[in-house]
Amino acid sequence: MKIPVPLLKIGQVLLVPIEIELTDEMAEDLHIKVLKKIEETGVRGLVIDVSLVEVIDSYLARILINIGRAAKCLNCNTVVVGVTPEVALTLTQMGLSWRGVRTALNVEEAIALVESDA
């Protein structure tokens, strides 16, 4: 299934901007597509941009965390960009943690972070 989330390879980094609401099926597809791309290209960094996502609930957080953990198995580090202060505070209030997935304030910083890990 063709999903409308683009995967952009920039050097050793894969950039995934999430611009739409993800349904269960789309989230599954995104996971598979992202991992396959990492496997194919061997990129060492994954940057997921959620700046256009209004609300991150535990469901979306779980998807992002699992993509991050699976990417780690492929020796690829993940950074999530675009988490607003409100979202961060809400998730913290709910008791959720990012579990090893790093966050950054903007894409440039995210790419720098990921490249320094490599």
Binding site: R62, V87, L96
Partner: protein, 143 residues
């Protein structure tokens, strides 16, 4: 005469409803209440969590959105999530989510998380009959 628009009912039976429910609640609070951006985020996140739980575990249900008034004169938002699903066998157990389960699907994280975002939270569940969740958030500053 009560303002008809101070109460809306939103059906939750498809995945699209989970998403659109947020939009409707956002509009409602913009029109009637004075919440800070953070409080608004709390509301929308709770709507997302609990509506999704209905969709995933009960199949379908509904959300009733209304204004709440406390005896002391506070105003707030009242969300009532109702479904006729299988019900939750042990609510306390469901609310106690162990960390590793955060990776796996489950209603507990959303349930316990939503409770933490509310000022008042009540849940009643009867096996084979359904679940009723009342979620209330008060304004900090009157509108």
């Amino acid at each position: 005469m009560p303002d008809k628009n101070t109460e809306i009912e939103i059906p939750i039976s498809t995945e699209e409803h989970v998403i659109s429910a947020r939009g409707e609640v956002r509009n409602f609070i913009a029109e009637h209440l004075n919440f800070s951006p953070l409080e608004r985020m709390h509301v929308l996140t709770a709507v997302s969590e609990l509506a999704r739980n209905i969709h995933n575990y009960a199949g379908s249900g509904k959300l009733q959105v209304s204004l709440a008034n406390s005896p002391s004169g506070k105003r707030g938002l009242k969300l009532v999530f109702q479904d006729n699903g299988p019900g939750i066998r042990d609510i306390d157990e469901a609310m106690k989510e162990r960390p590793v389960h955060q990776y796996q699907k489950g209603m507990g994280v959303g349930l316990s998380g939503s409770k933490k975002l509310a000022d008042e939270f009540h849940i009643v569940s009867v096996l084979d009959q359904g679940t009723l969740i009342t979620w209330i958030k008060w304004e900090r500053q009157p509108s």
